[in-house]
């Protein structure tokens, strides 16, 4: 068996397989299908300072080899996470990473401060790339100044591993990555969803209540692989790759492009056991290719 252990900053993952925020609930939703302890970690859904109801229905439409969503960060808030969800997650030994979001820099800072004392939260993923909220979210992620200012504030509030999740809806994602690296981010994860739109031509109206939404699924994968490759050449911190990973082959593709770890998102909706199948594939792949340590293949391209 090859070594699958990878490190993201000070965070040690038993394997590179993580779950993308907003696609895996709090992990528990998938406990009937897989042994959650087999994952490197799970990234729980986008958490904000105050509870949020999210956007109006309809929030989702299937598109060719993918889907558009406009959930809008519906969640019960960070206090609910700390008091109700966190204690239940302690039974798992996989890493628990909290994805945080906010409407202002102060929101981000406060959420990070509240999570910092929790022993088992050894990393947070800062979402500066949600395309589905009116203020904040992607607004911070589309300029180097915005991305840097959020990173700086969260860095001061959270001493453990800090991952910043980047938006693909920018001219140069490498520039944004360099900006957050300069402010002390330990890692960047990419890509969040691509902004998209679909229209019901019979009813002559958009499918989503918000008109536009975030595109995910296999359709975005070549864009995501390209961006992971570009960013991994531009920064020294580890890159976490995601975007349309449907199986083990796709996960390896991201690692060859430069990803130290990967996140599985939309594929969880189609195959709730896909994450552990990817772990198995990685073992098999390493064996077939004579790889003793999966870190050897990271960024081979």
């Amino acid at each position: 068996m090859a070594n699958l252990n990878v490190n993201i900053g000070n965070l040690s993952l038993k394997n590179p397989v993580l779950t993308a925020s907003g696609t895996f609930g709090y992990g528990e939703e998938f406990a009937d299908f897989i042994d959650l302890n087999r994952l490197g970690g799970f990234i729980v859904k986008g958490t904000t300072l105050e509870p949020r109801q999210g956007n109006d229905y309809p929030r989702m439409v299937e598109t060719p080899s993918g889907m558009l969503n406009a959930v809008g960060l519906q969640n019960k808030g960070v206090e609910y996470f700390i008091s109700e969800i966190y204690p239940r997650l302690l039974q798992y030994d996989s890493e628990i990473i909290v994805n945080i979001s906010g409407s202002s820099i102060d929101d981000y800072r406060k959420v990070a401060e509240m999570l910092a004392p929790l022993d088992r939260i050894r990393a947070i993923e800062v979402n500066i790339s949600c395309p589905n909220v009116k203020s904040g979210g992607m607004a911070f992620g589309t300029t180097t100044e915005g991305a840097a200012s959020v990173t700086k504030a969260v860095r001061e509030a959270f001493p453990k591993t800090l991952i910043v999740k980047l938006s693909p809806n920018v001219t140069s994602i490498a520039d944004i990555a360099r900006a957050v690296e300069a402010e002390g981010a330990d890692s960047v994860s990419l890509i969040n969803t691509l902004m998209g739109m679909a229209i019901d031509v019979e009813r002559q109206r958009p499918y989503l209540s918000t008109i536009t939404g975030g595109l995910s699924g296999a359709a975005v994968r070549p864009v995501a692989v390209r961006m992971v490759w570009q960013v991994s050449k531009a920064v020294k911190i580890p890159v976490i790759g995601l975007g349309g990973i449907m199986n083990g082959r796709d996960a390896i593709e991201f690692m060859l492009a430069g990803a130290r770890a990967i996140e599985v998102g939309t594929a969880n909706f189609i195959n709730p056991a896909v994450t552990v199948e990817i772990v198995d594939y990685m073992n098999d792949y390493c064996e077939r290719h004579g790889v003793k340590d999966i870190n050897e293949i990271v960024g081979m391209i």
């Binding site: 009937d32 969503n69 939309t266 189609i270 709730p272």
Partner: protein, 259 residues
Amino acid sequence: MEKYNKRMGDFRITENAAIAENYSLLKLIPVEGLLSDSAIRPGQFVQVVTPNNATYLRRPISICYIDNDANEMWLLIRKAGDGTRALCDQPNGATINMIYSLGNGFDLSEAGSSPLLIGGGVGVAPLLNLGAELNRQGIKPTFLLGARSAKDVLLAEEFAKYGDVHVSTEDGSAGEKGLVTTNTILNSEFTHIYCCGPMPMMKAIAKIAREKSTPCEVSLENVMACGVGACLCCVEKTTAGNVCVCKEGPVFNIDQLLW
């Protein structure tokens, strides 16, 4: 809830019968295991991988009937899009992958002695299993089935095994002419109403139920991705805020809804 663990597994189609112009009744058995182990409740649904990648996401389908003796699940499917058409075109012996059994079902403890089960179009599907289960509990329900015309009245002979069947057709070719909402059976008193069908029908039935002060449950089919409460796409506004139809529903008491 431990008893109701969700599973993913392959099912083999033992019989695929076109029962009306746009509808097929698929009978399936799990390739491994017993359905009785899943304690499937009336009103729950499955998420099906559509054949030949006809769709990217799974498609949610109501469980129509469970025959535990035959270890058989029935799915009533209307050809509505590429995915459901591909399912209806599957030959006997074909295998399809399902996640089951999902959501909360109907609340049988509230049925009372004389419940009315109202289904419109393909929405009659979950009412068959509900009627059968009510029968097992010694309750004889009344069914009201709505369809466009006589040839679209689905599974009437199956429903008749469990209770009296009343029919409304839009063209009057079977039962009373008109929509279910004008059927004269609604003048009778019932202890509870269970309803599944098109949204305008369910809203109209909910209004009637409120006027008569009859408790009423409806089964929603909001567009969903995951089916397990993770993606938060299929939300319905309720008295408790936005909740997932897949996990907190698909059946809701109308008192929980804002319509």
